[in-house]
């Protein structure tokens, strides 16, 4: 038997051995670059902050204690509020979008592509585009002036509204896609049956559509809420002086140099991800954006 055949015979001898061999390179890279760093991050959050940045080899809960200080609690609370508002707005706008796509027939593919496209474009470009629109001398204000509106420009940028708009447009695809996946499977006969039984439009929505769309809604909410908590670009470029969790963490690895604190904050976010992950036991009814493009 040639060397090649011997190798193949060995690789296929035990069930699953071939799979393990193929899995090994990618799995190793992911363990080394995803799993281990997360463990290091968790560990770092329990170390003491070094005097010139970096860490000391001493265990300390100071980082988590710091997170509970009123200043930081306010920031965390503010970020959570933004995340909740973003999720709610994404649901409010995303549901109609998913509904329309599911009804669209021939245009379904094109409409889905239009939803997915922004996800793949640079977040920086998108954020900058919104800055360009909303700033004091930006397009919106110029338009308003041209239409004879106020003399003074509307301060649109660097406001909570701008941040919210930025967060919502970033997260919208993540709500629309899982919702669409669920709504697509909705049998129109169910709605017709409900109508025959006397349900009016709002009742049909609340008692038929909403319960059946709930899994998609839950998946979308998870995919929106946690990443929004950690959003960096939008608060940084559009938020002005408003500090959110993302910019706070960014600072800890910049001038503020409190790595344990930054790690602790990141770890809390990671904990929420894992919680949501385990609750949903994996994607289930969620289709990844990547799956939607092909």
């Amino acid at each position: 038997m040639s060397a090649r055949r011997r190798l193949l015979a060995w690789a296929t001898a035990a069930p699953g051995r071939a799979g393990a061999l193929l899995l090994a390179p990618g799995a190793l890279v992911l363990v080394a670059l995803v799993a281990i760093p997360l463990l290091i991050m968790a560990g770092t959050s329990l170390l003491e902050r070094g005097t010139y940045g970096g860490v000391e080899r001493a265990l300390s809960g100071a980082a988590y204690a710091r997170a509970l200080e009123p200043l930081y609690l306010r920031i965390l609370g503010r970020t959570a509020a933004y995340a909740v508002a973003t999720t709610a707005l994404c649901a409010l706008v995303g549901f109609p979008m998913a509904w329309c796509i599911a009804r669209a027939g021939r245009w379904r593919g094109a409409l889905l592509f239009l939803v997915v496209l922004p996800f793949w474009t640079s977040a920086l470009v998108r954020t900058y585009a919104m800055m360009f629109l909303l700033r004091d001398s930006g397009v919106v204000n110029t338009l308003l002036r041209a239409l004879g509106g106020a003399d003074r420009p509307l301060h649109l940028l660097y406001t909570p509204g701008a941040v919210l708009l930025g967060l919502v447009t970033t997260a919208l695809p993540f709500m629309v896609l899982p919702l669409y996946a669920t709504l697509e499977r909705l049998d129109p006969a169910l709605l017709e049956a409900a109508e025959v039984l006397g349900a009016r439009p709002w009742a049909r929505f609340a008692r038929v559509i909403l319960p059946l769309a709930a899994p998609g809604l839950a998946a979308g909410a998870l995919l929106v809420f946690v990443p929004t908590l950690g959003a960096l670009l939008v608060p940084d470029l559009m938020g002005g002086k408003t500090m959110l969790l993302g910019t706070l963490v960014q600072g800890q690895f910049g001038p503020a140099r409190d790595w344990p604190f930054g790690s602790a904050l990141s770890f809390v976010m990671m904990g929420l991800v894992l919680l949501g992950f385990l609750l949903r036991r994996g994607p289930g009814g969620v289709a990844a954006p990547a799956e939607r493009v092909p």
């Binding site: 760093p37 329309c100 001398s137 990141s266 990844a288 990547a290 092909p294």
Partner: protein, 264 residues
Amino acid sequence: MSARPVPRSVGALALAGYAALHVPLLVLALFSFNDARWAADWRGGTLRWYAALLERPEIGRALRASVAVGAVASTIATALGTLLALALVRGGLRRARAVEAALWLPVVTPEIVTGVSLVLLFSGLGIELGYGTVIAAHVAFAIPFVTVVVLARLRAMDGALEEAAMSLGADELATFRRVTLPLLAPAVLSAWLLAFVLSVDDFVITFFVAGPGTTTLPLLVYAMARRGVEPVINAVSTLVLAGTVVLLWLALRLTRAPSPPPRA
């Protein structure tokens, strides 16, 4: 779905959503041709901002760096991700489902957490931040996307085709080369393009793992944007946008192809 038209409020909200997603980008592209330095009113079309790009060598450097990093990272990620997909579908692994579910973890993790954890890894190991660490980071977050794309195509492929090849005398390697790979090629190519786009467009993770000398295009645009709005940024952004759309469209076409191109 039933033929009843959509209520107006629903349609309006949907339209608002699409507008929010696309109007800023369209305006940005439009105004990259605007002949005005500070004002945002239309002063006539011009290509001078695109010409100005040529006078900014740092932009060309950053673009080349991004493309190089993207190409290297995509190639590595595509190779590893394809092997992963093969392992999950044809490898006979007992815990295949658990592994597949675990693959989603990097995707749902906030980018900032990924960035922070990687910075800690590299500094803990004493690895200097630079193009190498950026490539490593990009490989890591691209692998799950590649795997998902190739996985979908592999699953749609009839397993009997590979068995037929084996019944005709082709061993596992020959079967892969002559049957699996040609049929998988569009998906692999598409995955490469998607990984490339992800890499070139990435900001947050790159921000954390890039060293002082490493400037990719997004990092450069960020630095410029922090200093204030500038028409040149419009031009760069529009170019990046156009490139992304073209590559995405290509990736989409490749995975829609019903049968792969003929082989010699």
